[in-house]
């Protein structure tokens, strides 16, 4: 029997499977938080959640609605402040960083500031927040995106958060820390990564029921499609049960 699940649940499960045990993840509210909670229960029991305003290592028993809420440091190891957390990331302690945005390009650069001109925008979005810092400091960033050609674009209107910038060597040339940068993009259509040499976005696996062609069509730049493209497993019974019954029983997010 096929299990039913929605798009958000799929994004959460795909993201949860990426994280290794004994690592840490810089997370914002929404999908990343649920993904971290799910990973902690199933795949990475020692995964440590990090919230920018000071919470590290919360049990994530309660789902916060904001990155500064009490629930981000409920029974946590640390409740400090933004400087301490960001400096901890700068010192290389944080493995994963979750990011989002309205636009992404082939090098994983993200826009969450404006559509149009910065001084006179068509759409003003929230701005960087901690995203630029997360994108600068974490070893591996994971972007979670809706996948369509308006969002996966040749040229983003504004570069809020650094991906690989203009390509190989560009992060280092700009002054960003070596060996840090984009790692995965998880979308409603696929999981993507980056080609080692060119630093360009590359398809890794398509979501259940999605074809390679659909992914390519919905990507506004030339996507690298390797000979072997995987197919992601749909959410398992275990994943869905834990997600629905333990992590978000009030269905705040799913």
């Amino acid at each position: 029997m096929e299990l039913k699940y929605n798009g958000t649940e799929l994004l959460i499960c795909l993201s949860a499977r990426i994280m290794e045990d004994r690592s840490s993840a810089f997370i914002g509210t929404g999908v990343p938080m649920l993904a971290a909670a799910l990973a902690k229960r199933l795949y990475a029991p020692n995964l440590v959640s990090v919230f920018e305003f000071g919470g590290v290592g919360s049990s994530l028993k309660y789902l916060p609605r904001g990155v500064g809420e009490s629930k981000t440091f409920y029974r946590a190891s640390v409740a400090s402040g933004i400087c301490d957390i960001m400096e901890t990331a700068a010192r290389g302690f944080i493995t994963y960083g979750f990011l989002g945005g309205a636009q992404i390009d082939m090098y994983g650069n993200l826009n969450s500031t404006v559509i149009g001109d910065q001084a006179k925008p068509k759409v003003r979005m929230p701005g960087s927040g901690g995203a630029n810092d997360v994108g600068s400091f974490c070893w591996r960033t994971i972007a979670i995106m809706q996948h369509d050609a308006r969002r996966f674009v040749e040229k983003i209107d504004y570069l809020t958060t650094p991906g690989y910038l203009s390509g190989p060597g560009a992060r280092e040339a700009a002054g960003l820390f070596p060996e840090s940068g984009p790692y995965r993009v998880v979308t409603n259509l696929a999981t993507l990564g980056y080609e080692e040499e060119s630093k360009r976005m590359m398809l890794i696996s398509t979501n259940p029921g999605v074809t390679v062609e659909q992914v390519v069509e919905n990507t506004g730049f030339e996507l690298i499609v390797p000979d072997e493209v995987g197919q992601s497993e749909p959410p398992t019974e275990d994943e869905l049960r834990i997600l629905r019954e333990e992590i978000d029983p009030e269905h705040l997010y799913i």
């Binding site: 009490s70 901690g130 570069l159």
Partner: protein, 324 residues
């Protein structure tokens, strides 16, 4: 110092550490004197037209909203603002009190964009200079350290840098390219804490956000506290005093001062209250009506609390706190 790159904007507040030193010498006293006063007196005395102001922590979490509301009630012109937050920034923008801001993030996280910010940027031409969250906190930290700038390894290579007022130079020890952040000195900083004594010594519980840095970066500093405690508690635990009294100009007793936001260990977030704001601000009129109803037509914080539901509501919010 050779500058490799400069952000496009000019600073909207200069990093004048010499001026901060002189201000502190002339205006701050090391004597223990009561600074207890009302929201009204604090905002009248310590925020002027044209001031550069900032609010900690985060609009819906340990935010000094009773003071922000009082500021809206009094009205103030041409404020410049450290734009990192949610309802605090929204209120001031919606009231048309802001001329320019250093912005890092104004939005409602999972609930999406701030319609108030959108109008301010898209239609009202409020000037916005861009930074990351950490960069803004580090700019306070620079001022708190008594230095005019700090180097960091963030914002590099991005438009967040390009539309800032920062600079890029080489580290003289390693040759690394570093971003240089100018110190940010607030004319008035406003912080909400768990406990303060009458002199202004402060104790926080849970995350400290950027309270310590902002307090020390502020020329004038207004504290609101859920509870006013005896100085004895500070003398017994001086290691928990995160904002020493000599930084503080006013202490306001403001129980539930962060409403509709939450206060760690004391009360939870009033989600319907926040959603109401988000709903009505879809139009300019809606925002204005809200400001009339909940702020301008209400004499003070006590009356506001009555209006939003009084003791019944507070009981409900207390029950939402997740505890330790």
């Amino acid at each position: 110092m050779e500058i490799l790159e400069s952000g496009l904007y000019d600073l909207i507040q200069p990093p004048d550490i010499d001026g901060l030193r002189k201000w502190n010498r002339e205006n701050k006293s090391m004597a223990l004197e009561s600074k207890l006063m009302s929201e009204k007196e604090a905002m009248e005395r310590f925020v002027s037209d044209g001031d550069y102001v900032g609010f900690e922590l985060y609009g819906t979490c340990r935010a000094p909203l009773s003071l922000v509301r009082e500021l809206v009630r009094q009205g103030r012109k041409n404020l410049r603002l450290a734009g990192q937050g949610l309802q605090d920034v929204d209120f001031l923008l919606a009231a048309g009190m802001v001329e320019a801001m250093d912005i890092t993030y104004v939005g409602y996280e999972v609930h999406g964009l701030s319609p108030v910010l959108r109008r301010a940027a898209e239609k009202q031409g409020v000037k916005m200079v861009e930074w990351s969250n950490a960069a803004l906190a580090w700019r306070f930290k620079a001022a708190a350290m008594g230095v005019s700038y700090l180097p960091i390894r963030s914002m590099l290579g991005t438009d967040t840098f390009k539309y800032s007022a920062g600079k890029v130079a080489e580290c003289p020890f390693t040759g690394d390219r570093v971003m240089l952040l100018p110190a940010l000195i607030l004319d008035c900083g406003v912080i909400h804490v768990h406990k303060a004594d009458q002199y202004g010594n402060c104790m926080l519980e849970g995350i400290s956000g950027f309270a310590l840095e902002m307090a020390r970066a502020s020329k004038k500093l207004v504290i609101s506290a859920e509870e006013i405690v005896d100085n004895e508690e500070i003398l017994k635990y001086p290691d928990r005093n995160v904002i020493p009294y000599y930084h503080v100009d006013a202490v306001v007793h403001a129980p539930f001062g962060s409403h509709p936001g939450e206060m760690p260990y004391l009360y939870g977030r009033d989600e319907p209250g926040i959603m109401e704001w988000l709903q009505v601000t879809k139009t300019e009129e809606g925002a204005s009506d809200y400001l009339d109803k909940y702020i301008r037509n209400v004499p003070d914080h006590a009356a506001y609390i009555e209006l939003v539901g009084g003791e019944e509501k507070l009981k409900e919010l207390r029950a939402l706190s997740v505890g330790r």
